[in-house]
């Protein structure tokens, strides 16, 4: 019974984490979006041809640095990064949940998922 209650508490925590992450991401994107529209109100942007975003909008550390100095596009990217981090944070939290339950097999399985996710974030940047 104790385990059941413990489980319900964790589900509440995970639910709150997801909600908070999505709301925070939305607010940051909205703020960046308003700034972006104010600065670029009379520019027409076409995305018919693929050029790829410049490096300042594709590298995590540069995005955060630029966002903190007030670049509107970087603020939007930072909001999108928060959105990407949200499910990853959920997996990280699950590692602790399984560890608390002393479930070694699932700590390992969850760590594999986390490792693959971290590779997508970091490993690919080096390439």
């Amino acid at each position: 019974m104790e385990k059941q209650e413990h489980h319900i508490v964790m589900q509440e925590v995970i639910g709150n984490l997801l909600r908070t992450g999505v709301m925070l991401a939305a607010i940051v994107v909205l703020v960046g979006g308003i700034l972006y529209l104010m600065q670029n109100s009379n520019r027409l942007i076409t995305l018919h041809h693929f050029k790829g975003e410049p490096q300042r909008l594709t590298h995590i550390s540069i995005i955060f640095k630029q966002a903190l100095s007030g670049h509107s596009q970087a603020i939007i990217q930072m909001g999108l990064l928060i959105l990407i981090f949200t499910p990853i944070a959920r997996v990280l939290l699950s590692v602790f949940v399984f560890a608390l339950e002393k479930d070694r097999l699932y700590v390992l399985i969850t760590l594999i998922v986390l490792g693959l996710l971290l590779y997508s974030l970091i490993g690919n940047a080096a390439a």
């Binding site: 939305a26 975003e53 594709t58 949200t86 998922v113």
Partner: protein, 247 residues
């Protein structure tokens, strides 16, 4: 994603990036409501996430780099038509007397969910088959920037014999994690444009908030049929554009 390319003429790469953003937003938003109800099987979700995330990395890093846009459009069209047909044919019935396979027992995948008569226990079968299908679902998700929810539900419901409600909520649990992996790869590749992703993400969030309220007053059957028809037509147009190279 097809809306962005077909209606607004946006390049397929930017559309894929923006689409992934919308997939994470809706999945995480919905999941926060689902985890509470007790249908989500976190163990099944975690085991299959190894498959979907691995698939997503293959799709976004390898397949997206070697396949031309026209080919991606054609694959997308086929997937759309397939999911339109499946979602209109799918019968919702729960499986009885499922025998767990070796993997399901070893990984303790069985679970239970609340019903009006208390908790109902269930078992899981064909884990390797489900794992394989999930890898394909992850590859499509990574290549096309979609959630591949339909394919995930089929793998869990039809192959692994997981009860429908547990399959849909667990699938939703996995979609956000899978899409996050592809989105991270595409961010590095410069596919995620802030000017496009901003309205898409905010629009999707507002839409899902309003939609959840409106849905309770609409006929699900009519809605599903209409949706299937639209998806089917989009699929055909996507394939046509892929073959004629108009993307």
């Amino acid at each position: 994603m097809p809306l962005l390319t077909l209606l607004f003429g946006i390049n397929i790469h930017y559309a894929i990036g923006a689409s992934l953003v919308s997939v994470i937003a809706t999945s995480s938003g919905a999941a926060s409501a689902y985890v509470r109800e007790g249908f989500t099987n976190i163990r099944i979700g975690m085991v299959l996430e190894i498959a979907t995330v691995l698939g997503a990395l293959i799709g976004s890093i390898i397949l997206a780099a070697i396949l031309p846009s026209t080919m991606i459009a054609i694959i997308f069209g086929i997937v759309l038509i397939y999911s339109a047909i499946i979602s209109s044919l799918l019968r919702l019935q729960d499986h009885e007397n499922v025998q767990p396979d070796r993997w399901a027992t070893r990984l303790r995948l069985g679970g239970s969910f609340p019903t009006s008569e208390g908790l109902k226990a269930y078992e899981v079968s064909s884990v390797p088959g489900g794992f394989g299908l999930m890898t394909v679902a992850g590859m499509l998700s990574g290549l096309l920037g979609i959630g591949s929810g339909a394919m995930k539900v089929i793998a869990m419901d039809q192959v692994m014999k997981i009860p429908f409600k547990a399959a849909t909520t667990t699938s939703n649990f996995m979609i956000g994690v899978t899409a996050a992996a592809s989105a991270a790869v595409y961010l590095h590749r410069g596919y995620i444009d802030p000017g496009l992703s901003m309205p898409v993400m905010l629009g999707v969030l507002i839409g899902s908030l309003l939609g959840a309220k409106a849905l309770t007053r609409l006929h699900i059957k009519v809605l599903r049929t209409a949706f299937s028809v639209v998806i089917f037509l989009l699929g055909i147009e996507m394939i046509f554009n892929g073959f004629t190279g108009r993307l």
